[in-house]
Point group: D2
Chain length 308, copies 4
């Protein structure tokens, strides 16, 4: 492995975050072409940002669109009542992001690998959704006026299917022609304090990074033909990112330039895995169970409960 | 529930078997338009039947095509060596059923619900397959001449996706255009002695029964445009089938006509579930693990090992 | 297998029920030495029976003690709010059965096999309990006055450990000397309508049947030295029981004596499994998840929440 | 958190390794009171070390006893044939470590938490063992002369049971009085290159570190009264260890003393988790499945197959 590889692995993380993570507190205030507001509730801090034009897009390095970040640190407490409250907040933000009409057909896509715990968020959310599309077609009598038409899909990952995830989704979209797609995905965060306690919502779709192994296509209005709302939760930090952050901190605090030593240390510490190691809380299995409940419960409220 | 419902539930089972189960030993000998042979090996009895024309189809009540049934009772012993041997036999029969060319693109579809143990056979097989299609596209250098181009899909079930399984498969087939489809499914058997110890292979595709809840489309050359090989393993007997079989036995042995009492007993015994109860061996979790290993290992041999 | 074996298999079920199932509605009214009452709430019918003396014990064929049966059919609806309500009812009945003192040390034992879905109820309840005994010993500062001292154990089953379950529990009891033991177990019911919708509580402990494979020791005040409260939920019906019930119904309705035909039919229908087949609802995985939540949540209320 | 806490967290790792990890290549050669040898086979490097007396114990900082380390990097390849070979090597080393007599009663203990993937190694090994103790007591006719008397136990962890693991084991040992105990545990490694590819065997038992949260008792001949063979596989590196190693490397390479900056960086990078983050390969679920198969298969060979 040469030093270019280290760079592209780190860049992969950065690009992934660049592409997928939302804009957070304070950063986006008072920028031309950008509107933002922050609300604080008992169990969440809600940041809503709209990039209104190319000026704002350029300033923030992100496509025009709406971005919401929910900070919900109390999800770590594993308290059912708090989780129900966070579900409600999430469903409310979904409502602000996309206003369902009575005849809207929604497709929820659970991205990720059900065999890899921290990547299983999307498939687990899909498993817990109340889907109704088949009732609309065959048993409309079981539905009530509050129900919306919902379909769901867990397409799997490239290593299990051999097919680009975007191609599987596109194939299903062509068959069922939904009005809107919601994509749920586990993300890699840049720092550990965000793990399992941040929910991101954006109407700009999913645009994978350009790094190693990231040949995946975009899942967006451009490729799917309908709006794509992305919902993401950071569940891992790449080990290479964590160690690199530590080295950069040292470098800043001691005002030294590590130069090629930085690559050398990363390589030595992470050999033979380098880019394939992840950092998670010990109890990741329970945390994923909780956060997937929060998201699926929020979706079920959004699609099927009257919200006065 | 009126007595028509009981009939359609039982018919559902019968029809499902009629449609999906293969022709077994002895039945099909000496029928015009039908060729059949039986081989006995250490660990399997292999029945191969070909329905050659409409005369044979009419006689057996099945579409023209090739049907193979492997009886492998020793899979119940949970012996790794026997399971490896059965995998080999299975891969050999696959080879006889469809002759892969060097450039054949195969799609393996794991039907069924990964959350319901006896229905999870298909998705578990997919999880253990060695898929290669993405390497052909992006990293051909990791492949060797024995590898074939394989993709895989676990489409889920109607209750989880809200989408007809056939529609999901068709969407993906349109995107990746495979040359052949292999569909793996858990079946309902008519009697308990076949549970987890019979593997069925047919080149006529999957044609769901016409009964309650069986609005599913066919998955066959007609609907998919390419050959569809069905692989099935009986993993449950419907409780209603088991009890009905017992009542019929009594009726035969005592030469009495149970008449409407038969419905009454079924209804009373199975209330409030009626058609939603299944009979499985206690250790079904372990048996599904074993048989899914046998099938996936057989596929991996078939697709990726040179068979002299 | 001779006909004695069939009898002992059926007897096994009957004896197990005899020994473990509680007394239900109506049966026990107006019997000397027996007090009983029935309450009906929105989501449960509660039967409370006390066998006060040997006269009552003889009349009902059960040891003196207190027996509670909760009929909670709505647990099948998979509604979180109803399940929370049922948890509360369960915790309230536990309170009536055993009155915790501030310094009571409780041991909750989850009987059953975590690898066999319908038998996994006990271990799953244990996984979801809030245990505190280690905090009492090492970190009392994290506890509040509502917490009780709770330990838990999933001893496994004879086939996995090679050790009588009662011996494992006795070993742990000798080490930690609890004041009371709560044993949670999945039961075999006699009819399908009780599956996953009945919760039984008794202060007479667990007394295994005398049939095949039931060499297990009692888990009771006699063997453990402290009160043993048994909590049971029927999660399967043995297939042999279901078919036998159907044959008996036919026999009654047609007033015929099936005689040895009954054995012959059972044998033929269940071969080669005979006693090792179980009947469950298709969605058993989800139902076990729900009922184990109800039980563990009820325990957590009972042990750790102030109940005015 | 003050800097003492950081030290004790790091020390925890070091002490755990100190106490549990075996002596590796080269280190122990030519030391008085220490005998060591290294064998290289196709799929393993085998290091065998004996600390013969107090001189050797002092030199190596470990108790007198026998220590074996198997380096098996090819287990990462997920190749069934290689895994079977490694199982055989492991069973052979077990044989050298403890020579089973025909009437030896063995207890295999699977330490760890079955709900936390990288900690589930022990319980998974127990699930796959062929236990026989109950057959010796009740059905000796099913055994053959190659079988040994084996019992097994998955005691759970303190957070799930509220009981010291050592107390649960001691309780069971008092009941069944085995001749020897084998304890299987997942370990924290000091560097990522050892993850899932090293198997350690020692006859000195398990001696937990003295750090935070490590109040656990020893599991050894002293506490159990019979020999205790420890089998360990490193499955995680603590994130704090990984980052600290990187900082030490920088410190060495640049010949700078980071001083209090080291603590500050660790705290900043790992907040709010600090000691509760682990580093694993992405595919940890599959790797644990493979290595638990290797260990359980090796045990099954050791206990039940004739080894010429």
């Amino acid at each position: 492995m040469n030093s270019n590889d280290i760079n592209s692995l780190l860049q992969r993380c950065d690009l992934a975050l660049e592409a997928r993570e939302m804009i957070t507190k304070g950063v986006s205030r008072n920028i031309e072409g950008v509107q933002s507001e922050t609300l604080t509730t008992d169990h969440a801090i809600i940041h809503r940002t709209t990039i209104m034009n190319e000026a704002g897009a350029k300033a923030l390095g992100k496509a025009p669109g709406r971005y919401i970040t929910l900070e919900v640190p109390k999800v770590r407490l594993q308290d059912d009542d708090i989780n129900d409250e966070v579900s409600y907040i999430f469903s409310n933000e979904l409502k602000g992001m996309y206003n369902l009409q009575p005849d809207t057909v929604s497709l929820v896509v659970g991205l990720g690998n059900w065999n890899v715990t921290p990547d299983a968020l999307g498939p687990r959310v899909v498993n817990q959704l109340f889907v109704t599309r088949h009732f609309y077609n065959h048993m409309p009598e079981v539905l009530n006026p509050q129900n919306h038409n919902v379909a769901a899909l867990s397409p799997g990952v490239l290593g299990i299917t051999g097919v680009e995830t975007g191609d599987i989704i596109k194939g299903v979209v062509d068959q069922i022609q939904p009005d809107v797609i919601f994509c749920v995905d586990a993300l890699a965060a840049n720092s550990v304090d965000r793990l399992n306690t941040v929910i991101q919502i954006a109407d700009s779709g999913i645009h994978p990074g350009s790094g190693v192994g990231n040949k995946r296509k975009s899942i967006s209005r451009d490729t799917m033909g309908v709006p794509v709302i992305a919902i993401g939760v950071p569940t891992v930090v790449h080990a290479i990112t964590l160690v690199n952050n530590a080295l950069q901190l040292v470098s800043q605090q001691r005002r030294i330039d590590l130069g090629p030593d930085q690559d050398r240390v990363l390589r030595q510490i992470l050999d033979p895995f380098v880019g394939a190691l992840v950092v998670t809380p010990k109890e990741v299995d329970m945390l994923i169970e909780d956060i997937s409940y929060v998201i699926s419960n929020g979706f079920n409220n959004y699609f099927h409960r009257h919200q006065a």
